[in-house]
């Protein structure tokens, strides 16, 4: 084990960004190089057989899934417009006389709008009304306006950007509708981490995860733990106790959960503050060692 870490250190770290199983296998070894010198994990360096099993913890990644669809990029919009033009050029003539009664206002409105769409798609030479004098054209437009007034205003859509986005309200669950948000808690000492807790005897891991989540963040959330399987694990760095004996090993198994309704009301005894953050914001608040243990489990988008 120790020789492997030495080799990975010599090899350097160029492959952190390229895909491939071989490079992913070195993530665990390289994560140990980020430990600050004050906290030395004793487990990996020495060849001692673990006498006792490590203490089990469960940690919950509570995710608010995206509410909004992603915004199309300019390239996507241009491509879709191009494909729409092609489809319009190649499709059958529209049987408007089947769908609209001859001479009705709806037909007039449809014709006006369709001509506009043709001009937008192909250019100024298309969508020209044939044999229509100016008075008739003006009368048609007036009739269409009257129809729009009669129908009334259509339902206004809500804006995609919520006020809490501008206000930078990190507790709001309406913020950043397009992104995945994760719940992060701040301990009384000021360290940011995901909700965590112990595993009792005789309890299964996913049951412990549910219980820990309720204990740390309150019951006023409708949560759903996705599966019985953990999605990752994190080994916190071991600190030597004042008596000189090493603390027992701890392993925290990460479980994924979704929040469907409600808000977190964290337990004030253990937790000072909470926030709903995107992946980049989590990186900025959490310690470097913790980030390297946890980053691959979060969604980029």
């Amino acid at each position: 084990m120790s020789s492997k870490t030495l080799i990975s250190l010599c090899r350097g770290n160029p492959s952190a960004f390229s895909a491939g199983r071989r490079t992913l296998a070195t993530v665990r070894e390289t994560s140990t190089t980020y430990i600050p010198s004050s906290q030395v994990p004793i487990s990996h360096q020495t060849h001692q057989k673990p006498i006792t099993k490590p203490k089990l913890l469960t940690s919950i990644i509570l995710n608010r899934a995206p509410i909004l669809t992603p915004t199309p990029t300019p390239f996507e919009r241009a491509y879709y417009a191009y494909q729409a033009r092609l489809r319009r050029a190649l499709s059958n003539p529209f049987p408007y006389d089947f769908y609209f009664k001859q001479g009705s206002i709806l037909e007039t409105r449809f014709t006006l709008e369709e001509r506009k769409r043709e001009r937008i798609a192909f250019g100024r030479e298309f969508g020209i009304a044939d044999d229509l004098d100016k008075e008739k054209a003006a009368a048609n437009r007036a009739a269409v306006e009257q129809l729009a007034e009669q129908e009334g205003e259509s339902e206004e859509m809500m804006a995609r950007v919520h006020p809490s986005d501008e206000a930078r309200d990190y507790k709001s669950l309406d913020r950043k509708g397009k992104r995945n948000l994760y719940l992060l808690l701040q301990e009384n000492e000021g360290i940011w981490r995901f909700p965590e807790g112990n595993v009792k005897k005789g309890e299964l891991l996913h049951q412990a995860a549910q219980r820990d989540l309720l204990a740390e963040c309150g019951e006023y959330m409708d949560t759903w733990i996705v599966s019985r399987n953990p999605i990752g694990h994190y080994r916190p760095p071991r600190k030597a106790l004042s008596t000189g004996k090493p603390q027992p090993e701890e392993v925290a198994f990460l479980y994924k959960a979704h929040i469907l309704a409600g808000q977190a009301r964290p337990n004030p005894e253990t937790v000072k503050d909470f926030a709903w953050l995107t992946k980049q914001e989590v990186e900025s608040r959490v310690s470097e060692y913790y980030w390297h243990g946890v980053k691959d489990v979060l969604s980029d988008h």
Partner: protein, 185 residues
């Protein structure tokens, strides 16, 4: 005979741009105009000497195509650019999925090394129809509305409340007040 079948039917609406639509159905005298319209749309043109979806181009199809497509090379370049863009997105998504799966795999290996009982339990497949005795007891004591909410969350399946992303958010926004509802695990 064929000429009478193929005579184009000229339409009388003035403010349109498609002034001629050919159709197959023969014009019958003394026909109700509504029925005539329906017949014409049921039996579209039968000229199949061109490769079109259902047999009829728009009358100015060549001109429209010239305005739509800049050139053959431009069209090919656009297609290739689009496929390349989709490939980039796909590769990024696949890399992220692979990273997440590796984390899962390593976590399960770790768990197998630590505690075999917990490992076996974590690997057990969920049975959606199974109901623990605790749940059965709870169901007896619950009201009808609560029982419905209870049934909506089926073990091993996605919850009904998990919403699909939409283009604009809902008017009410996020539901912040949710009454706690006990669900045994």
């Amino acid at each position: 005979m064929s000429t009478s079948l193929l005579t184009p039917k000229r339409l009388l609406v003035s403010s349109t741009f498609h002034s001629q639509i050919r159709c197959y159905a023969r014009k019958e005298s003394g026909m109700d105009p509504k029925k005539e319209t329906i017949r014409r749309s049921l039996y579209p043109s039968n000229i199949r000497n061109k490769a079109t979806p259902t047999g009829t181009w728009r009358p100015d199809v060549e001109k429209a195509l010239q305005h739509a497509i800049p050139s053959v090379q431009a069209h090919d370049t656009i297609e290739r650019a689009w496929l390349l863009y989709k490939r980039h997105i796909r590769k990024r998504r696949e890399a992220e999925t692979e990273r997440k799966f590796e984390c899962m795999r390593k976590a399960m290996d770790e768990l197998a090394g630590i505690d075999s009982h917990l490992y076996m339990e974590a690997n057990k497949p969920e049975n959606p129809r199974a109901r623990s005795p605790e749940e059965a007891n709870l169901l007896k004591t619950m009201k009808a509305s609560e029982a419905r909410a209870f049934d909506a969350r089926v073990r091993g399946l996605f919850p009904r409340e998990l919403r699909v992303p939409t283009d604009t958010p809902s008017r009410a926004g996020w539901k912040y007040d949710w009454k706690p509802f006990y669900r045994p695990l």
